[in-house]
Symmetry: none
Subunit: 220 residues, 2 copies
DNA sequence: TTCCCCTTTTACACTTTCTTAACGCCCTGG
DNA sequence: CCAGGGCGTTAAGAAAGTGTAAAAGGGGAA
């Protein structure tokens, strides 16, 4: 059974989340602010954390940073609309995904499942996402067992997306990892390479979906 | 009976591995850090090495490199990190396979058997790719039963490609294996030798195809 | 020493990949 | 409705990588 930790200042939201999670068999603990949240995380060692960004006192981002100093637990961000920059900041500080309030319980549970599974299956010199397989050692890619010819940039880009399959990767994260240590500004070219990748992946492979203003996500 | 060497800093892990291995008839010796590990390897001449990448002091990769300077013993990497790049680095530096902690004993033993057999058959004198035959023992090559005259560099280069026939070998992998421990920069000359090899292989032998920006592949 | 073979360097044409710019679309907010 | 930002798409020039030939070192054998 999985343990979930809810960090949110609104009691009503905590009650709702607890209901949903417990109905799915999660063991739930709560915290009304960041300070207590961190203590609870250290004490209960949850398998997943639901973190509200709009916390009083300590900022949600700050809680996330402090948590990441010693824990790799999957973190799902709860945020209200129009906090795009904060969401980006959260993802870049180690958050795994986010949902926007108000959200449907089905979506919430789906995202929870995804980010928890990721933590388990991420470790390999081969990355497999559905019909797509990336062999990092040989720099080879295959789709449905058929070889897929990718340029170096395309491979690096797809690797970043596949490593975080099912989750959002911000444009900054992508650029930092694919164009590491380059002077030129690739922010324009990113769209072009995404376009090439989508063509090569076709209908049969996993889809690359855009999250406007944030980044991209490789859908399983 | 096979001898196994465990290089791991955690005593608990060493105990577990020793139990598993001894139950399978291995003779086991241990080392708690890389320095001692190398000494033990030199002294006991193990038939297989289990190497933890997360060693204190000397890096696991560094241990592997130093070991590979004088030994071809099969090496199985034990790794806890979910950083694929480190594992890739290990594989590129001569590791034979890896398991990720925590691992099942069944998987561990299976991988051990595989890499020991592979080392054995790989050293078995000959590599055959279609009409091409490489006799590693005598450093002779033949094409369609006719002797093929190759220079030492060409032979080493073709050997690397033939060992991984059908798969991409990156330029770095080639350079590391063919020009091991050399100061000069062979990145330019690689193209020249590839060119020579292609001419000597002609139309009848396997083709060497280029993957731009990545490396070469010997087509079966 | 000279000769010969192997390796490395150099040069340049050619191919593939990357970047840049332009344009039209969709969505959102005014 | 229009305006503006972000995105998808396309095409062309720039940049990087590759194939090939020929010449320049370098070491061993006669």
């Amino acid at each position: 059974m999985s343990k979930a930790l809810i960090i949110d200042d609104e009691q009503q939201m905590r009650r709702l989340l607890r209901m949903v999670l417990e109905s799915r068999g999660y063991e739930v603990c709560e915290a009304a602010d960041g300070q207590v949240g961190l203590q609870e995380a250290a004490f209960h060692r949850p398998d997943v954390v639901l973190l509200d960004l709009g916390l009083p006192g300590m900022n949600g981002i700050e809680v996330l940073k402090r948590l990441r100093e010693w824990s790799d637990v999957p973190v799902l961000i709860l945020s209200v609309r129009d906090q795009e920059t904060i969401k980006v900041e959260a993802l870049e500080n180690g958050a795994d995904d986010y949902v926007t309030k108000p959200f449907g319980t089905a979506e919430l549970l789906a995202r929870l499942t995804v980010i928890q599974r990721r933590r388990f299956t991420r470790q390999s010199a081969e990355i497999v996402v559905d019909a797509l397989k990336l062999d990092l050692l040989h720099h080879e890619a295959s789709l449905n067992e058929a070889p897929l010819k990718l340029t170096p940039t395309e491979f690096a880009l797809l690797k970043v997306l596949a490593e975080h399959a099912g989750r959002i990767v911000t444009q900054n994260q992508i650029i930092r990892q694919v164009w590491a240590g380059q002077a030129s500004d690739p922010s324009e070219g990113l769209r072009v390479h995404i376009n090439h990748l989508r063509k090569k992946l076709g209908d049969t492979g996993p889809r690359i979906v855009n999250e406007p203003g944030i980044g991209y996500r490789l859908e399983e």
